[in-house]
Symmetry: C2
Subunit: 320 residues, 2 copies
């Protein structure tokens, strides 16, 4: 496995030149595909791939039904400004079909992985003739997967899975030696706008990682609304990452003087440098109250809001 | 239904004299039974009954397996000091048998109600010849039950249930016109020590109301340990009520570098006057951190701790 490049030792210009050369060498005379999620990792890979391959790279955004409010439109606009063509593929039905009835976190991750790599990309590869997928796996993804803490959807070789054999294409991972801080430095050097390169981490399984239990369209809609409120109110918190989680547990509440056995949203807001260790942000009480009030007022069915107090470890950043 | 006596209009001495007379009238020449839970309501009823009936009142503490750490010993010692005899009845097996496999909050309440009133008290009544049960129902219990928000285990007549017919004994409720603040005033006038009359409210179903999902002996032990930490750290918070809830949802955590799909404890700490409306106490961050650190360190299997931010309404004080 490639050695870690720590952010303080990272020469971004040299890293970019090296990776552009490596991508060209890997793809040869062929074409490549990559998926842009809106997060910093896939955005940096898109630009590296664009530098290396120009029109021989096909960049797609997969509408999986699990994205945040306005995500698709916002990301497409940024890349249109950068002159990078992005194609949108609607695969919502395939993802929700694969997630139906699936409650276990690892099983959900596996359902998303299979849908993404086998179904959606399998089809694209067959149609396009591309033989290489570029993707934004970073070192922290590999660490957590190999340690058995959380299977990241984009980690294969380290688990003994050969993508060529399993999915029919090779995977190239230009960011495998970096952690999030290194990726941001490269993103800035590539000319990505700060709204993208400084963006909070967001999980590969997207909002499916933000619901405990089954990820139905209705439950995803609930956590999407809560997420929009959390992201708006905590945008200036300076936190490393903040998020909303929809619990599966129901709790007794009351609406209009009657019992309402309702849902619970947990807010997490983390202070961290590189996600390896993290602690909850000491938000002011005024902010905590506003989070609760807005979520209770605006998200249908929610009667309870909590704030995470646990450190990582023993917690992880995401609940699922 | 008897009219509410608001605390500011409550003449405690006169109330005591009236209720002592009413209990004597209801019990006549017979004997009565009452259950002491350790909470203020049942403690006040015990003293009222003791004043009215002396040795014709049999006071029992039912060890239901659902009490807080040290509860039984602490309460027995207080009443021994007051010269009131208290008998302890071990009914743990009956309660856990009734709760086995029961996950729905209302079904749990019903299982506890039936075990307590039909099995445990049914047997006591048959053995003792008592025909009256004194109990500490207060107005808030009735309100919440009648409104359909939360069935309180001690409310019958208002639901159209005749205890005489259903259980074989009459129920006398001396505190039915009071809310918690009124009960405390009466408790103080009766000479109860402040550690009892100023005690936080605690639910009838005890720690079974503090676990979401099935109340097994193991899950009760988990929430009991968390409750002891919360009560110790928040004893001087000045809050109306504080509590720990064990969630049924599991969340991804890590212990010793490996995945631990663990449990979550929610801490609630309420500011309130009479429990009708309530808001979360703005605890200092040092306290919140200490709550999380101690629970994560001392309660086996717990990888996540949250703090409730919701107001009542739409939340209720307890989660179950």
């Amino acid at each position: 496995m490639a050695e870690e490049i720590r952010v303080e030792a990272l020469d971004a210009e040299r890293f970019i030149a090296d990776q552009v050369a490596a991508i060209r060498a890997a793809v040869g005379e062929g074409t490549a595909i990559n998926a842009l999620s809106g997060g910093v990792d896939s955005a940096v890979v898109t630009l590296l791939g664009h530098c290396a391959l120009g029109e021989r790279l096909r960049t797609v955004m997969v509408e999986n039904g699990l994205m945040r409010e306005g995500e698709l439109e916002r990301t497409a606009a940024v890349f249109a400004d950068l002159g990078v063509p992005v194609e949108i593929i609607d695969a919502r039905d395939a993802f929700f079909a694969a997630l139906r009835g699936v409650r276990d976190p690892e099983a959900k991750r596996e359902a998303i992985t299979q849908t993404f790599y086998r179904d959606v990309f399998g089809r694209l590869v067959r149609e396009s003739g591309a033989r290489t997928l570029l993707q934004g796996t970073i070192l922290t993804d590999v660490d957590e997967t190999v340690a058995g803490i959380k299977r990241q959807h984009n980690v294969f070789a380290q688990l003994g899975i050969d993508p060529q054999e399993t999915f029919g294409y090779a995977i190239v991972e230009p960011l495998l030696q970096l952690r999030k801080d290194g990726v941001r430095k490269v993103g800035a050097a590539l000319g990505l706008p700060a709204e993208v390169f400084a963006r909070m981490p967001f999980p590969g399984p997207a909002l499916a990682a933000r619901v405990i239990g089954e990820a139905t369209p209705e439950r995803i809609a609930t956590v999407r609304r809560a997420t929009a409120i959390v992201e708006r109110l905590l945008a200036d918190s300076g936190a490393f990452q903040h998020l909303a989680v929809l619990h599966e547990d129901r709790v007794t509440g009351m609406r209009d003087g009657r019992r309402d056995f309702g849902q619970q949203i947990e807010v997490r807001c983390w202070d961290s440098v590189d996600a390896r260790v993290a602690s909850p942000t000491a938000l002011p009480w005024e902010t905590l109250r506003r989070l609760a009030d807005e979520i209770l007022a605006e998200v249908p069915g929610v009667v309870s809001v909590t704030y995470n107090l646990a450190t990582k470890p023993p917690s992880t950043i995401e609940a699922v």
